[in-house]
């Protein structure tokens, strides 16, 4: 028996030394890599007159999973050209903030990361380099998408912007005997949507695609559509920081549009809670004429619905004929102030290259939609073009007041829970719960975060 125990112990000891060996091995791998990178960096300036900074490297923590492939490609191009190592890591959908939290604590933290809204500024401003007057700031063509802290430090800098609203398929609307010109306000949208829904059987398509409430879809309503309430509540003076309370004055307008969406849709509102419907596919395959989403969907739908366009959130507010799309961004670059000077310089050089190099900016603009920089490639995104057209016609841009949602994940989760109850039974009592989650929930989350 004793022998057995001893031999077992020996085995365990042996295995753990092997594991320790593995640990040592990967360490060696790590150090072996570094000189290799140095070598290529040393060679690079001779091969190509590139702005290779003395030994620095770039680590970009990206938060748009849909752009990952292109970013990897651009990063590889840059390394091939200049020899500077560029690592792009993409956080899985919805996990950016948790990934950032753990990555920043590592010995080689991201040098380039995203601070997308005022809450992010509050959390991460101490880790962000002041970008005022830097090379990348000088390339911008607008200040509209930058984020500053209360001392005026330029914490993060917009690298693309987006717009959202209601994506529409004009061909289907015409097939139903209507035209896009009828939809200039909520009444017009309601007439068209309700008519299409009523004749869905005969037409072969319905008005709205499904508005699932699972994590992959609920943000279209709790994050985006909710913006119309916040936007109008600002009464023309844009918020500069998160207000402690909101009044919910325009919540009935949100209800107008939300009700229209769920009740004139392919899917029974009672089946929305756990999701499982593919709204994008419903729109692409011509099963639905309207699809609540944003400009990043253009790439996905343009092949199947070449005439797809985007209309504003018409919700029954006076004067909304002059409404435009919801434009803004959560895509703002910040440079890690705790990174070494070489890494910061390398990162800055990489950013400038991204927005000035014709090939790189072409690739990036195609995935991001548009980049607000003087020398960046032109946008080919139809929805952003629609946004520009509204602006050119003198319509007001609805800014992303939704970015101020306090303790955003928790706030939205509460709203989802309330909307689930409402979808299952559209009673006044259930709508009052939605109102509580929307209005009082704001104050409660604000207090939870700030006290």
């Amino acid at each position: 028996m004793k022998k057995k125990i001893v031999s077992t112990m020996l085995c365990v000891a042996m295995i753990s030394t092997m594991l320790a060996g593995c640990g040592g091995g990967s360490d060696n791998g790590g150090t072996a890599q570094a000189p290799a990178a140095d070598d290529s960096a040393a060679e690079a300036p001779a091969a190509d007159a590139a702005p290779a900074a003395g030994g620095g490297s770039v680590y970009w923590l990206n938060f748009k999973p849909e752009s990952d492939e292109v970013l990897q490609e651009v990063a590889a191009d840059y390394t091939a050209k200049t020899g500077v190592e560029v690592k792009v890591v993409t956080a899985a959908s919805g996990t950016y903030s948790t990934t950032l939290l753990s990555e920043m604590d590592k010995s080689a933290p991201p040098t380039l990361f995203v601070i997308g809204n005022q809450a992010g500024v509050k959390d991460w401003k101490d880790y962000a380099l002041d970008l005022n007057g830097t090379a990348i700031a000088n390339e911008l063509n607008t200040d509209a998408y930058n984020l500053y802290d209360e001392t005026g430090k330029l914490v993060s800098i917009g690298y693309c912007y987006e717009c959202y609203g209601i994506i529409a398929n004009p061909d289907l609307i015409e097939k139903a005997g209507h035209s896009m010109d009828e939809i200039k306000n909520f009444e017009g949208l309601k007439t068209v949507a309700e008519d299409i829904h009523a004749r869905a059987g005969e037409l072969g398509f319905d008005a709205f695609s499904s508005s699932d409430m699972d994590d992959s879809s609920s943000w279209r309503f709790t994050g985006h559509m909710a913006n119309l309430e916040y936007y109008y509540e600002q009464e023309g003076t844009a918020w500069t920081e998160c207000p402690p309370t909101i009044s919910g004055k325009y919540l009935d307008n949100f209800k107008n549009l939300y009700d229209l969406c769920i009740n004139n849709s392919l899917t029974d509102p009672k089946e929305l809670a756990t999701g499982g419907h593919d709204a994008e596919n419903e729109f692409k395959t011509g099963q639905a004429a309207f699809f609540v989403n944003g400009s990043w969907e253009y790439e996905a739908v343009k092949a199947d619905v070449p005439n797809a366009t985007m209309i504003p959130y018409y919700c029954g507010v006076a004067g909304e004929e002059k409404a435009g799309l919801n434009c803004g961004t959560e895509n703002c670059w910040a440079i890690n102030s705790k990174a070494s000077a070489e890494d910061q310089q390398a990162t800055m050089d990489f950013m400038v290259w991204c927005v000035t190099d014709p090939d790189a900016s072409r690739k990036l603009v195609d995935t991001f939609g548009v980049m607000p920089y003087k020398s960046a490639a032109e946008s080919t995104n139809g929805f952003l073009a629609a946004a520009d057209k509204y602006t050119a016609d003198g319509c007001y841009v609805m800014n992303w007041a939704t970015n101020f949602q306090p303790n955003v994940d928790s706030y939205r989760a509460t709203l989802v829970s309330a909307l689930n109850q409402y979808n299952a039974d559209q009673s006044d009592a259930n709508w009052e719960t939605v109102r509580t989650a929307f209005v009082d929930g704001w104050a409660a989350e604000y207090n939870a975060v700030n006290n």
């Binding site: 000891a13 030394t17 594991l19 903030s97 939290l101 994590d215 509580t436 989650a437 989350e445």
Partner: protein
Amino acid sequence: MKSKKITATNSLQKATKRWGVLFMGPVLIAFIIGFVWPFIQGIWLSMCQFRLISDAKFIGFGNYVKTFQDASFRHAFWYTAMFAIVSLVIINVLAFIVAYILTLGIKGSNLYRTVFFMPNLIGGIVLGYIWSMIFDGILGRYQTSILLESKYGFWGLIILMCWQQIGYMMIIYVAGLQNVPGDILEAARIDGATSMQTLFKVTIPNVMSSFTICMFLSLTNGFKLFDQNLALTGGQPFIIQPGGTTIKTTEMLALNIYNTFYSSNTTSQGVAQAKAVVFFILVAGLGLLQLSYTRKREVQQ
């Protein structure tokens, strides 16, 4: 035996002592790096305010005060306790019944054992999503959803855990049942015991050690449950109270700690850490209590 070879054994023991340190070293180091050190650091961090653990600031016991004031944490505790007890009872009763049936010598027992064990090999997150679809496929017919009623969420999670855990506990019980000495069973039969008497007076006392381990496992599993909880309901539905605060009705302790840690309050990481320490003490305490209780009922063969 020992008394005859005192000197030899002593020198062997000495050698073992001397070299034991060397052989145990790697395990000890791995254990310290992987467990002891993070544990100590966790206790330290529970008394700090921090965003990144590399610049934590000591603030004393404030985090613990907040932990006990937090209504959501108390709700999560009672919910978790209820879940752990219900799942402990159901899982162990069913696992024992299945194990008992499968040791009666039915044809194809080995196949059944393998099949029942297999759910254990699937990860919790995957299971949670799959089961949420299954439940909603059924509940959808009645115009409702697992996310709409707390009781659906509770029993849904129980069903999921039973499906996953019964097979595992069954294997342990099968091993226990096979170790019940045949001569005792034979003696019982000769003495004229009915099969029920044999089961309750002979078999069960003899597999008490399996009960100890299975109950320990299912109790701690119930308390520590996270993945399945996150994927199946994620705490939904919420009770939205006047004033806008919420109670996540199906949120268990581990998920509560996770949600606290990743909320965007500057102090929440420290509070979550304090909750985690309280959580450890709870689970360890309950586990040990249960162990000492069932140990007393084990019989020595």
